[in-house]
């Protein structure tokens, strides 16, 4: 790859790092080669441009380096509530106007809150790129919301928690239960969907503070993917974003977890559930290490697909269940879009005639197989093919949003969006011996957390009137 550094554009100095298309490997059908242009505006905003003309659509995604992990201690669920507030009005776009602007221009939009970022994205017909950049810049400058808007979204978010958790069987299982049980640092172990009382207690003052702390250009990355001309995009990005004030975000708190040395478990009775369930998770190696990539392959070998060891053991051989869910960062993303302590986990719903104990004994058998002898090279090859195929899907997901997601995370967490083109090479370095060593250290029982869902024996039956 080539680096072309530093040039002047108008009045603003822009450090420009342009990564040309990575030279294709001998076999054209291997490897991911995504064009990446990366630079920063003087106010600190990171910008990634990655054109792809396969459909007349353009995606604009803004990721802020603020996830629910580091929301205020007295305000669980606030990072997510705030995400909703970002749709409630800014200087030039009143309530509903951002949404209508996107939709009436033929686009779709959404936002989401994750462990380590909050994102906002829209996919529009490609001739509407400038319109969208203007709108994103408008809300990056600041919000203009009322007490009434806040109250409305507290109602909406309260209903979101009800529909996804409180009125659902297995509502917090395992996606909230597992991290809350496994981690010891509050930042990783609190209820990030939020207690309803915390959500209801939020004030306009809280949202001002939160915006000032975290929502500055310096704490964000803007990604444009899809069908566009780079020179046009650069002009518009400059025009609408360069004038936003620079502001230094708060330093990030310590989110580290100590090495886990004993198994943890939690059992809960779910009034709505009629079948028991069990989930199990292990703390991941640090992101970006050789062991992290080894665990990525273990995920493919052990958990993903019907060829996986756990599917074959728990579904086919033992008939405990019809499927095993799980993975790395399961339920809230994947192994490439987080930046802190994380779990690799599996979960399943089973009949009462099987106990969690015997199911976990079967899981042990699979894990011991990985710990006791090196996997065959064929298993690694198959895992890499699955990963590569899955990456192609991610790249073209939802009009380019999947590609923007990877680029944003590598820019935000590593300051190197072109890492997207190194993913496969990093997996190819993994050896059978490294997989075995990783399984021994990280799939230890003392690094494991179990959550179990019990059912009430005499649950009230609903009747039809």
């Amino acid at each position: 790859m080539k680096h072309i550094l530093s040039r002047l554009t108008g009045a603003f100095a822009i450090a420009l790092l342009s990564i040309g298309i990575v030279v294709a490997q001998p076999k054209a059908n291997t490897g991911i080669n995504v064009p990446v242009t990366y630079y920063k505006l003087p106010n600190g905003l990171k910008v990634v441009l990655s054109p792809d003309g396969s459909a007349p659509l353009t995606t604009v995604a803004v990721y802020y380096n603020i996830g629910f992990r580091i929301e205020p201690r007295s305000r669980t669920g606030f990072a997510h509530l705030f995400e909703h507030l970002m749709f409630q009005g800014s200087k030039n776009l009143g309530k509903m106007e951002y949404i209508r602007l996107v939709e009436s221009n033929g686009g779709v939009l959404n936002g989401s809150t994750r462990f380590d970022f909050t994102n906002y994205f829209a996919v529009v017909p490609s001739h509407k790129l400038e319109t969208l950049l203007w709108a994103e810049a408008d809300r990056m400058r600041g919000l203009d919301i009322t007490q009434e808007n806040l109250k409305n979204q507290q109602g909406v978010v309260g209903n979101e928690v009800k529909v996804n958790v409180l009125n659902q069987p297995y509502g917090t299982f395992p996606w909230i239960d597992l991290p809350m049980t496994a981690f010891t640092n509050w930042y990783n172990s609190h209820n990030f969907y939020g207690d309803l009382k915390d959500i209801e207690a939020a004030t306009l003052e809280d949202s001002k503070d939160f915006f000032n702390k975290w929502y500055s250009p310096k704490n964000a990355v803007l990604v444009v993917t899809g069908d566009f001309e780079e020179k046009d995009a650069k002009v518009w990005v400059d025009k609408y974003f360069a004038k936003l004030a620079a502001q230094t975000p708060d330093p990030l708190p310590d989110i580290s977890e100590p090495r886990q040395t004993e198994e943890r478990s939690m059992t809960r009775t779910d009034k709505l559930a009629k079948k028991p369930a069990v989930g199990f998770g292990w703390q991941m190696p640090k992101r970006g290490t050789p062991e992290y990539y080894a665990m990525g392959l273990i995920d493919q070998i052990m958990l993903q697909g019907e060829d996986s060891l756990l599917y074959q053991e728990l579904v086919k051989k033992k008939s405990y269940t019809s499927g095993v869910n799980g993975g790395i960062n399961a339920g809230l993303g994947h192994m490439f879009n987080y930046n802190g302590p994380m779990l690799i986990s599996g979960d399943l719903i089973h009949d009462e005639k099987f106990t969690a104990k015997e199911i976990l004994a079967s899981v042990d058998t699979v894990v011991e197989g990985l710990q006791n002898k090196p996997v065959e090279q064929a298993a690694i090859d198959r895992a890499i093919v699955k990963l590569r195929s899955g990456l192609y899907d991610t790249m073209q997901q939802f009009g380019g949003v999947g590609r923007a997601d990877l680029l944003a995370c590598y820019a935000l967490f590593d300051d190197k969006p072109d890492n997207i083109n190194q993913i496969e090479a990093n997996f190819r370095k993994v050896t059978p011996a490294l997989i075995q060593a990783t399984a021994k250290e990280y799939l230890r029982k003392t690094n494991r957390t179990i959550v179990m869902i019990n059912v009430e024996t005499a649950a009230a039956e609903g009747g039809v009137q």
Binding site: P125, K275, S389, V401
Partner: protein, 482 residues
């Protein structure tokens, strides 16, 4: 990759587009449960006006090659996209509509059994072979069609066709697999019956399609317990066959090699019988039905009326009306009960379409205390649509949205297959696809109002509410049928 299916997540009724495209990446904590829509930009008094953008680029649906094998199986090939992957989908026109009375979902069990092994491969070999191709293989059974589909890296295009044909044509149908799948089905049913959304939708279907196979979504436990291997074998023999199968290949692939592979792999596929249609007669009688869910913090509402089918001249006009009313985020009902009142997170309308059949449904999970008010506001918005013409700017906005969404819908391999399959299922031709955007853009304010007046009538309205009846019954009094 494939995941187990016993985790039945929250209903995502409204937008199939959203569900298909977003399911893997954006599961949780999204600001909107579904992508919904609307209107025009308000006037920006003393504000900056958004830059208008450039000129739209034309979107052309990709070219297809269509042909029929000597045994009657139809084939459609589409070179599409830039990614080295290929999607393969066989659609067999059989489904739960063909289940015998008292044997509901034997059709589904037959589909599931296909993956349990062929005469040449064990289930584990099927899984391993698929994984080696970077692929997935799924069987889905609906009311009218069974889909056997997957996608693999392009380099394995012909190999995957061989595998798919083997699974479809040579199932081993063994007792021990059936026993395990029956236990799985019973467990999944037990989970489904604890979900408010499932209960509401099941009841709604039972009411509006009474007497037709569409009335029953799920089998009863007794029915599942009684499934025999003989039932599965008989269903397969009677309902699978080349003359009711359409094979789609979309993506990057070697056209000549794929055609040769198809001819060879499906040569032994018996012709079978022609598919039959069974169009329901819909009465659309006014009713209110409640199901108790003690202590539920929300009520799940399904409210709907019969609507024009995909072949009806009213269809495109109705879809525009639906997008304005409840089918988009900026839509009137969503603006009202979510963004104004805060009663709910995930309201939305959708159109349930089958051959010559349609139903318009608004569904929402609303906070228990606001159940009656939510219905009141939904009806208020329906009546506003019936009584007042839609302002020009609001209408233009929704038309732009639908035109843009159409490009997005057709920007994936399975999106392209879905579009073609929908056309073939309904007996329509390519002009339906080519003219869609033009027809959307031609809809007038008078058309929209006429659609609401003609179809959204309270005398044909079915309402189902699942909630805490101790708190809800009183609120529902005004909607009881007199």
């Amino acid at each position: 990759m494939n995941k187990g299916q016993n985790r039945l997540r929250k209903r995502a009724a409204s937008s199939l587009i959203f569900k298909d495209l977003m399911s893997k990446l954006f599961l949780r904590l999204c600001v909107f449960a579904v992508i919904l829509t609307l209107t025009a930009i308000a006037t920006f008094a003393q504000k900056e006006t958004p830059p208008a953008g450039g000129q739209p680029k034309p979107f052309v649906f990709p070219a297809t090659e269509d042909y029929t094998l000597p045994n009657g199986m139809k084939v459609t090939l589409v070179q599409y996209g830039s990614v080295p992957k290929v999607a393969v989908q066989a659609v067999i026109y059989t489904g739960t509509k063909d289940d015998a009375k008292g044997k509901k979902a034997v059709s589904e069990m037959t589909g599931s059994m296909l993956k349990e092994g062929s005469k040449a491969r064990t289930a584990e070999q099927i899984a391993l072979d698929t994984a080696k191709m970077g692929g997935s293989l799924n069987v889905g059974v609906g009311t009218d069609s069974t889909n056997v589909r997957g996608e693999v890296l392009s380099e394995f295009d012909a190999q995957f066709i061989n595998l798919l044909a083997d699974v479809m044509l040579n199932p081993s149908f063994r007792q021990k697999d059936l026993d395990r799948l029956k236990a799985n089905k019973l467990r999944q049913l037990a989970v489904a019956r604890t979900q408010a959304g499932t209960l509401a939708w099941e009841k709604f279907r039972e009411i509006v399609f009474a007497g037709h196979p569409y009335e029953q979504i799920n089998p009863r436990d007794e029915e599942v317990n009684a499934y025999s291997l003989d039932d599965v074998r008989k269903f397969y023999a009677a309902n699978y066959g080349a003359s009711k199968t359409h094979l789609y290949i979309v993506g990057k692939f070697d056209q000549a090699a794929v055609k040769a592979a198809i001819s060879k792999a499906f040569a032994g596929y018996a012709k079978g019988t022609e598919s039959t249609r069974n169009v329901p007669t819909i009465a659309g009688k006014r009713s209110l039905t409640t199901i108790n869910r003690a202590d539920a913090p929300q009520s799940t509402i399904y409210l709907g009326m019969p609507s024009p089918s995909a072949t009806d001249p009213d269809y495109v006009k109705f879809v525009v009306m639906d997008s304005l009313l409840g089918g988009s985020f900026g839509s009137r009902i969503t603006s009202n009960i979510r963004e104004n009142k805060g009663y709910t997170y995930s309201p939305g309308s959708f159109i349930w379409n089958r051959f010559k059949t349609g139903y318009w449904i608004e569904s929402a999970d609303v906070t228990t205390e606001q159940t009656g008010n939510s219905i009141k506001e939904i009806l208020f918005e329906i009546n506003r649509m019936r009584n007042d013409p839609v302002p020009a700017a609001e209408l233009q906005g929704i038309k732009n949205y639908m035109a843009g969404l159409y490009v997005l819908q057709n920007s994936t391999r399975f999106g392209v297959i879905g579009q073609l399959e929908n056309m073939n299922y309904n007996g329509l031709d390519k002009t339906t696809i080519d003219n869609y955007v033009r027809r959307v853009l031609a809809v007038t304010s008078a058309d929209v109002q006429a659609m609401a007046k003609k179809y959204l009538t309270e005398d044909r309205m079915t309402i189902v509410v699942v909630g805490d009846l101790a708190k809800v019954n009183e609120q529902l009094k005004p909607y009881e049928v007199q």
